[in-house]
């Protein structure tokens, strides 16, 4: 089976791009990735969650492929709520592994600012169970808040300990030109910020924003023909799922699908958590990051927030968590996020990430969540 390499990446700045639609955003990221790779994609996989509910646009594969100069190629959309981007990379990875395709472009794109917050909040809640959660008004932030309170009460974690994560994210994002929010905040700012869904506050949540990210995955066949060889390999790509409805989960303080996906990805890549230099993990809400750090094997259960308060995972530490600023501050154009993460880690391993750099990073990991822990995608990337 061929190895899979990343031959090009492209990002747009995350933000309120009132002047750009789905196609404009997708094109900007895709053109950068194609141009950087110097490879013509054979197929396109689009990662997107809400084009149907917010733009009334389906058929996104053909729509984007044939709008960005890739007329005729096979193209389709992959949807796994906020995990759509990661799932799209996973699908493209397997397409290449299968030997059928040699160069697959993945574009994650989301256009969230066409509507007011209440409408976007309803659309996002479609990640949850429509008949038994969304119907009752349980917003996505609300469902994550249920997990946050449960976790804090179970492990006696204080509000203060939870606040270190967003502070670190905002700090990391300052240097990232692609980030939506580039402003440092203090612990007190988090604790004084408006309550969105108690105990989740504004500064525990990712903002609403538009963005697109692209990565071009290629097989060994393509690499052998390139003058300038890509230096980052997708060494592990795995996905696992859990019930969409929170009610049928084993426990509210865990995301077992993350551990399952990570276990597979680690095995595929032949690495262990302690080998990893840089991670980009899904922190749509502070609690997501905390639980992921534990599920991925970077902190013991109940300890991640406490370790963060002691300075763990900051730039200079191993692993460095979310040097991009994460979903919290880089932003979270939902269906694009998983692709942003992969592109950012690729740049870290290549040494050309234009923000906080992780020196001599050899191995990186991304983890993207769809739903409140129901779709989990983990990628391990290696410098070759």
């Amino acid at each position: 089976m061929t190895r899979v390499y990343v031959s090009g990446v492209g990002l747009t700045k995350v933000g309120r791009h009132f002047d750009k639609g789905l196609i404009d955003l997708a094109a900007e990221a895709a053109f950068k990735a194609i141009d950087e790779a110097g490879v013509e994609p054979e197929a396109l996989v689009v990662g997107n969650m809400m084009s149907s509910s917010l733009q009334h646009q389906d058929n996104l594969g053909a729509y984007i492929a044939n709008s960005i100069g890739l007329r005729g190629i096979p193209a389709f959309k992959v949807e796994a709520a906020c995990g759509s981007g990661g799932a799209a990379v996973h699908a493209a990875f397997n397409m290449i592994k299968s030997g059928v395709y040699n160069a697959v472009l993945v574009v994650g794109v989301e256009k969230m600012t066409d509507h007011p917050t209440a409408v976007v909040t309803e659309a996002l809640a479609q990640a949850a169970d429509a008949e038994y959660e969304l119907f009752y008004g349980a917003s996505f932030t609300g469902l994550n808040a249920l997990m946050m309170r449960y976790y804090m009460e179970k492990y006696q974690v204080s509000r203060r300990e939870m606040s270190y994560w967003p502070v670190m994210m905002h700090k990391n994002a300052v240097a990232n030109p692609y980030a939506q929010i580039r402003r440092e905040i203090k612990l007190e700012d988090v604790e004084k910020s408006q309550v969105v869904a108690d105990p989740i506050r504004l500064l525990d949540s990712s903002p609403i924003g538009d963005g697109a990210a692209a990565v071009l995955l290629v097989s060994e066949n393509i690499v052998s023909k390139l003058a300038e060889k890509p230096i980052v390999e997708v060494a592990g790509s795995a996905m696992a799922t859990d019930t969409v409805e929170l009610s049928n989960r084993e426990s509210l303080d865990a995301m077992p699908a993350a551990a399952q996906a990570a276990k597979k990805a680690y095995k595929m890549a032949g690495v262990e958590p302690r080998d990893i230099d840089v991670i980009e993990i899904h922190d749509a809400f502070t609690i997501n990051a905390i639980v992921l750090l534990e599920e991925l094997g970077f902190a013991p259960r109940g300890q991640a927030a406490k370790q963060l308060a002691e300075g763990r995972f900051a730039p200079g530490d191993k692993p460095t968590a979310n040097p991009s600023g994460g979903l919290k501050a880089r932003g979270h154009p939902v269906g694009a996020t998983g692709v942003y993460q992969v592109a950012e880690v690729v740049m870290q391993l290549r040494g050309d990430f234009p923000g906080v750099k992780v020196d001599k990073a050899e191995i990186g990991l991304t983890s993207n969540i769809g739903g409140d822990g129901s779709s989990l995608i983990v990628h391990v990337l290696k410098r070759v």
């Binding site: 509507h115 007011p116 209440a118 409408v119």
Partner: protein
């Protein structure tokens, strides 16, 4: 000369929220003596997620809980209301489904202003006596409307009551007789597309409330050969806190026999549940052998007068479900502004 039907069980529901009469006085610029004259200090109002169906469900749920019967044995669900959530589409089927009574049952919504549930009660008793059904479920439930600024606002309140009707050998109160008295009297009405009822003010009293209740009660006593002294309790429809006392006086019932079933001063007039919640409250304190007069009234106009005799089954039933007073006492005051939001009185537009 007891008949072969009666009340097997009862259940009530009063929403948690209360609006003080003084809020209405202040908002609409009324004379501050009005609440005292009406003998209504506050009224029960529904939460934003409540309507006559949800309230009726809870009252019926309590009645079934208290009766401890299999809901499938209920053969008729009659829902009396003048605040139907759907103008066309039965409320009774929602409740019957939620209780597990469906599908082999009669079910319908009845309309006769505040007397619809009472008509349902009469019919259900008759269906039981004729052995058409084993048990009947009768529900009275209203989120009563009043034009903001209308004096009706002091009293129009929200609440529900339900009865399981069955054979007399299972009854906590056996039916002794019933007498109905109706005429075409336009004292209070609401046209199809109107959000609020209109009424004849003073005309709602003498020719409507008083003459119909008196007609029914006198007819009942005459047919059964009973005098006011033979009754231990008298429960009348209670559009405010004073009419029931006055009609009682005119019929010869002393205040002490009326007060136990007089709930309007505490929660307002719950329309289809008005006299019937009073009846439920009386069942929660009456002793076996006591006789209860129940006389609901509905505008338009009509009244049914019932005589029930309490059996010793009543003692075992009281603690089996929340009592009327449990609901009356569990209360939380809201401002008029919050009540208006809960009721959807603000005109909002969608995003």
């Amino acid at each position: 000369m007891a008949r072969d039907s009666g009340i097997v069980s009862w259940g009530a529901y009063v929403p948690r929220y209360r609006l003080k009469a003084e809020e209405i006085v202040n908002l609409w610029g009324w004379d501050s003596n009005i609440p005292k004259n009406l003998n209504v200090a506050e009224k029960a109002v529904e939460n934003v997620d409540e309507d006559s169906i949800t309230m009726g469900f809870e009252a019926a749920y309590n009645a079934i809980l208290r009766a401890n019967i299999n809901p499938k044995r209920i053969g008729a669900v009659f829902f009396g209301t003048e605040s139907k959530p759907y103008a066309v589409k039965p409320s009774a089927t929602v409740i019957a489904e939620a209780l597990g009574v469906t599908p082999a049952t009669m079910a319908s919504d009845l309309e006769f202003a505040c007397r619809a549930a009472s008509e349902g009660l009469r019919s259900a008793l008759a269906l039981v006596e004729s052995k058409y059904i084993e048990y009947g479920l009768v529900i009275g439930s209203d989120t009563a409307q009043a034009n903001p600024g209308d004096v009706l606002e002091y009293t129009a309140s929200s609440g529900a009551v339900a009865f399981i009707v069955g054979p007399s050998k299972e009854a906590a109160a056996i039916l002794e007789g019933v007498y109905t008295y109706v005429t075409d009297t336009p004292d209070f009405w609401r046209r199809g597309l109107s959000p609020y009822p209109k009424h004849g003010e003073a005309f709602t009293g003498e020719p409507a409330y008083f003459s119909h209740i008196e007609g029914a009660v006198r007819g009942l006593m005459e047919s059964l050969g009973l005098k006011p002294d033979d009754f231990d309790y008298a429960v009348f429809h209670q559009p405010n806190g004073t009419f029931p006392l006055r009609v009682g006086r005119r019929l010869g019932f002393p205040k002490e026999k009326i007060l136990p079933g007089l709930v309007t001063p505490l929660i307002g007039n719950t329309y289809n549940a008005s006299a019937l919640i009073g009846f439920a409250r009386v069942l929660e304190q009456a002793r076996p052998g006591q006789r209860i007069l129940v006389a609901p009234f509905g505008s338009g106009a009509g009244s049914d007068a019932y005589s029930f005799v309490v059996t010793d089954r009543v003692n075992g039933l009281r603690g089996k479900a929340p009592r009327v007073d449990d609901y009356i006492n569990a209360k939380k005051y809201v401002s008029y502004a919050v009540h208006a939001k809960m009721r959807g009185l603000y005109r909002r537009i969608a995003n």
